[in-house]
Subunit: 336 residues, 2 copies
DNA sequence: GTGAAAGCGCTAACAG
DNA sequence: CTGTTAGCGCTTTCAC
């Protein structure tokens, strides 16, 4: 570590110090041909002595590239997102990219504000777990001037338009399979629990909707009794049910499933005999919870890794497959 | 939203478009005095129409400020850190600052690499949950040329040197209090569980060491039998104990306490009669765990908020109190 | 091999 | 009120 740091030394300073011109300094520092071995060594030595650090800001202004990408997720309270950010940050580091992180809090206005800010900061691309929906938003993203890659939730354009690069989970297959098997276990009622899932079309519920459609298609084929719990007070609503029939709850996220698990334990219901609970995500804390929660594993690290790599390819101008799909696995444990 | 985005429009472009000079455009856009109302309105309208966005990179090069701060934490797997990052990101957003996030993975070399990278990217300051220790590192941080604020772990300089701004927890008080009360409950053996806590001095264990010293001071006064478990195989080591005396385990983090809880349940020990467990941090998943874990609440949001604000004050050149302390609270539940 | 100069987009200082 | 110019630190082009 060089000692003197207080004053930043620039290429120009080095030029003075070495008694050569700016151009020569540049060639030496950046390993370009056209400098004698002697001068190059001298320059590198003096640069080292003075603790020279290139100014990335100036490089960016010149090159138009920042090697930063904007990352926008809903929040960091949900374990799912922190693991996602972790994975993206790791992958980005390996590619010598930096992350600018912001959280949208599922607020459509805030999401747009964040995008505007990131644009001004000249990020090379944006990795987005979207909250907004609709064709206007699609047009907006397409015309940003920098690549955008979507994770988990899609944003669709008008029919026939080129889709935005997207990486997500194949929800349909796994949900159908899970619901089939739940029904096969003899549950008389199968419910779908998706708080915050509203139908006003103001927010992006692409992924949850996929799951709901898959759920519906199965329960309707089997003509099984089913209900949806989509309001925030799902816990108290469910607490008021009679439970005279054997009932299963398919939850779109482990955090809701855990709430139900503790509710049913309090109510003295037998799990999984009176009532069954299935989660989604397979968050890591499940290992401490009893009865152990059956769930669907979301390959969140893969989502982050491949999401970054997809964006990275687009930034590098490669032609990419605009739609990548990840597979989930059902994990049967004791709760259903 | 302006429609045309593909080509970035600059102040110079606007100057041409409006038929005025660069200087006038600048004054109009940045709300400076010295433009007639008429021209200003015209300029703002045209800027809006063409979707002008200031180039923050160019502004940074000019001003030397980026309004970005570097944030370095150990990892994001630990719930503690994701909540911390969340809180910092929120606070930064309110102050119109952006976060550059990187994780050190508790690797001393990587931590220094990250700092070097952030320096090159001209962050205005660094918020650091440090991994390195020692006076050399202290000197390094002091001479970075930008403000650094430390969270939780201190980095001490030579005697008499000006301490780096720091925000942390008052570990001593709360740990002493907790251990006192554990002993008062009649435990015959009180153990300290701190995996990864080694004494080679290569890593920064400032905070854990504080806790250990506080622990020691109390058990020694009461001459209670005590042991420390500091290796990574703490779980199997503890599994081999005989448990013929009533034993308490004071863990430096909830995640270790949860491991012990499930171990003791497997072993058929009665909690808290045969064996007691105390955690640290009060991570939010505890609400789903039975028996409920007694723990110490770490005000992590406060740590993030005040950490950012401390750094922000330093960046703004305010004189600040270099040492801020947060208070923890003991939360007694069923495990001890 | 090396030096000089222009320019990335913006701000600030100085003229008019 | 408005225009011109220099310069932030770097890269690139073109002379020598």
């Amino acid at each position: 570590m060089p000692i003197e740091r207080r004053t930043k030394v620039t290429l120009k300073d080095l030029a003075h110090l070495c008694g050569v011109s700016l151009g020569t300094i540049d060639r030496a520092i950046n390993d370009k041909p056209g400098v004698s071995k002697k001068t190059r060594e001298m320059i590198l030595r003096i640069a080292e002595e003075h603790g020279y650090r290139p100014n990335v800001i100036a490089q960016s202004l010149q090159s138009g590239k920042t090697f930063e990408i904007g990352l926008i997720v809903h929040d960091l309270n949900n374990r799912f997102f922190s693991l996602l950010v972790d994975s993206i940050q790791q992958t980005a580091w390996e590619h010598h990219y930096y992350i600018q992180l912001a959280v949208s809090l599922r607020d459509t206005t805030r999401e747009k504000e964040i995008i505007e800010h990131m644009l001004q900061r000249n990020v090379d691309g944006i990795l987005l777990f979207p909250t907004n929906v609709g064709e206007t938003f699609y047009e907006y993203l397409v015309n940003l001037g920098i690549p955008v890659t979507l994770m988990a939730n899609r944003v669709k354009g008008p029919p026939g338009s080129r889709p935005l690069p997207f990486i997500g989970l194949d929800n349909t297959t796994v949900v159908k399979q899970a619901v089939e098997q739940i029904i096969a276990q003899g549950y008389e009622v199968v419910n779908f629990v998706a708080p915050y899932f509203n139908t006003t079309n103001s927010h992006n519920y692409y992924e949850i909707d996929k799951r709901y459609q898959a759920f519906l298609s199965v329960v309707e084929v089997h003509t099984v009794e089913h209900h949806i719990f989509s309001c925030q007070q799902y816990r108290s609503e469910i607490a008021r049910l009679s439970f005279d029939k054997r009932t299963a709850f398919f939850c779109v996220s482990d955090i809701f499933a855990l709430e139900l698990l503790s509710l049913f334990t309090e109510m003295g219901l037998a799990i999984p005999d009176d009532v069954g609970v299935m989660g989604f995500d397979n968050i890591d804390v499940l290992k401490y919870v009893r009865p152990s929660l059956s769930t669907i594993n979301y390959p969140v690290s893969e989502l982050g890794k491949q999401g970054f790599e997809l964006l990275h390819s687009t930034i590098s101008g490669e032609r990419v497959n605009p739609k990548q799909m990840l597979e989930a696995q059902i994990i049967w444990r004791d709760s259903i």
